[in-house]
Symmetry: C2
Subunit: 142 residues, 2 copies
């Protein structure tokens, strides 16, 4: 037994498949993970930490190629702090925009649900104020 976690251990710990872990390495999201003499990956604590953060970026919808960009900066030492901060800040505003978009569309959804619960026909209710409001929301761009 050597130092560091095997791919199976990391997989269990983080809830990502071994396939995905290898894929992330191939894709440049991780440094080349150090191997035993037999060629078996031994993940260090830093690798697991990195993975935890990258997984959050994925959950926030950052595409793989951008995560790679971040990861490459992260591997290039501390004179990339500013660039990394900028990259994350840009992504931050995209996430906020996404949240706002979801919230706007939730309004539409709520109106529609209310109309169904009131049993009034959604597409052809010219008099209904609720139907009018829905129509108005739908006509606005996004």
């Amino acid at each position: 037994m050597q130092e560091g976690l095997t791919i199976g251990e990391v997989s269990g710990k983080l809830g990502m498949s071994s396939h995905t872990l290898r894929y992330y390495e191939r894709a440049g999201l991780l440094r080349p993970i150090p191997r035993t003499e037999g060629g078996i990956r031994r993940y260090q604590e830093q690798d697991v930490e990195m993975l935890r953060f990258l997984a959050r970026l994925r959950l926030m919808g950052m595409p793989i190629h951008q995560i790679r960009e971040y990861a490459e900066l992260a591997r290039s030492g501390r004179d990339t702090f500013e660039a990394r901060g900028e990259l994350l800040t840009k992504h931050r505003s995209e996430v906020i925009a996404r949240i706002e978009e979801l919230q706007r569309n939730l309004e539409v959804l709520d109106l529609k649900i209310e109309m169904y619960s009131r049993g009034c026909t959604p597409l052809s209710a010219p008099g209904d104020p609720c139907a009018e409001k829905l129509r108005g929301l739908l006509e606005r761009k996004n």
Copy 2:
């Protein structure tokens, strides 16, 4: 010239490509759009209204197969109001969960950005309270 909009007009109005409009019809998201004698689609107001709403469902991340399910109910008359309401209500809670997930991950992102702006190394700062907090957030499931 006949009654109703051509695919190009709908495409321009809603900002979706003609390709996508045909695809949505094929996929069962729209009723078979009525054609002219020459076989050219003429979208009616009801089709456009439907499309507007379906587009919102897409923006909220509902997969095509679920939208089809909803659309099929919508084509089956008003005794599917309850089922439609349930389907949308279920999706509503998924959207809310997604928003909350994004907000939780935004916390992680904000902490990370703060650390970069303070110029302190994120992965190895055992003393820093901010780094500790980040580590804590990252270790929690999602």
